[in-house]
Amino acid sequence: MTARVPTDEQIAQHHQHVIAEHAERQPLVGPWQDLAQLTNEYQGSEAYRRQIHSLQTQYRALRRCRGDGNCFFRAFAFAWYEAIFRDRAKVDQALQTLAQSAILLEAAGFEPLAYEDFLETCTETLTTLSQQVQEGLGTQDAQTLLEQLLDSTEVSNAMVVYLRFITSAYLRQHQDEYLPFLEEATDMATFCARYVEAMGCESDQIHIIALTRALGVGLRVAYLDGSQTHDAATIHPFPSADEWATGAQFASLHLLYRPGHYDILYRQ
């Protein structure tokens, strides 16, 4: 009897299946956790523990996002709404940004049919949150509502898709600037279809730069890489240090990056 050897494709499929199954057991956006909990995960690695320790001088907590390839966009969506939903003026500004993003999408050739439902969910979710706060919903209840809405598959996925579309549209509209940085594809349309718009495709720096520029929302990403040479976690500002230096009025969002994954960070 000959044992049947699985093909590469079958192995890859199985691999994907295992990852998907594992990911589905995690919440899309998890609860607030003390940063010290992260240290427990790295019992064997002094380098990581040193970096986490250095991170604790600036940050106190994290919120884990599901590792399904959408974690950057999911983390961004949550952190963005959480940073602004209690402030009426910031909500209005964000709603205006979202309305303008539709113009960017149209200019980049997106059909309304393809994006309008997702945009509507983004807008309605922020409006609902803001209204509840204006009507006097308590701090704790407001936080719970935010978590409920943004951990629901429908809202969270719609926001992920729409942020992917904005990123894609921005890259398509500024392709002369970004084309030289593409390693995976030779033209922007192919790159965007394969690596930006498709659900589950992981994000690189180019995605982060494009999204933060398109929305005018600044971001700091703390890199935890277990490097032996850097005891402190490196913190990268996006879209760029220069743009931060100009004092642009960024909502400042904070994410944690570990190779292949993003989570949300909270300052001390």
């Binding site: 439902d117 969910t121 429908e154 996925n157 279809a193 394969r194 498709a198 659900m199």
Partner: protein, 154 residues
């Protein structure tokens, strides 16, 4: 009742159906098999003019996942079709191309039509059809014509 997790897909499918009813591109008819279930569609595709498939009507079913358009639908021809890319229209999309939620039923059907007209011989699924298409176009066209007549019950 549809569960909440379906409602975004349902809304999108209803919009697409409405659009396709009002504004169907030439050569395409598509819609739910029953209005009780918007996740199972039937499509009729007219063989493109100027090709041996001209005059033929090709039927297919389209099954949508509950999170459409985040994930792609599956399409199956429900009639025989002699074509280098085989009977599985999902293969008609160039295999390197990933699904993106920017797509729609209309875009899928249009790309199936263009693939019927211009086979992609790099991803041939029906080896016989591929070989014949490359080496003996007259014989290929003859089989396709016979096939078209069969699907029309002539």
């Amino acid at each position: 009742m549809y569960r909440k997790s379906n409602s975004a897909a349902l809304k999108r499918l209803m919009t697409e159906y409405k659009e396709l009813t009002i504004n169907a591109p030439e050569g395409i008819t598509a819609g739910p098999i029953s209005e009780d279930n918007f996740f199972e569609w039937e499509a009729l595709i007219a063989g493109p003019d100027g090709t041996p498939y001209e005059g033929g009507i090709f039927s297919a079913t389209i099954t949508f996942p509950k999170d459409y358009p985040l994930n792609p639908p599956e399409m199956r021809f429900t009639c025989p079709i002699f074509h280098p890319n085989g009977e599985d229209p999902n293969m008609y999309e160039s295999s390197s191309e990933r699904w993106s939620p920017v797509q729609s039923v209309e875009k899928i059907l249009l790309s199936v039509i263009s693939m019927i007209a211009e086979p992609n011989d790099e991803s041939g699924a029906n080896i016989d059809a591929c070989k014949l298409w490359r080496e003996d176009r007259d014989a290929f066209n003859r089989i396709v014509r016979e096939n078209v007549c069969k699907t029309l019950d002539l």
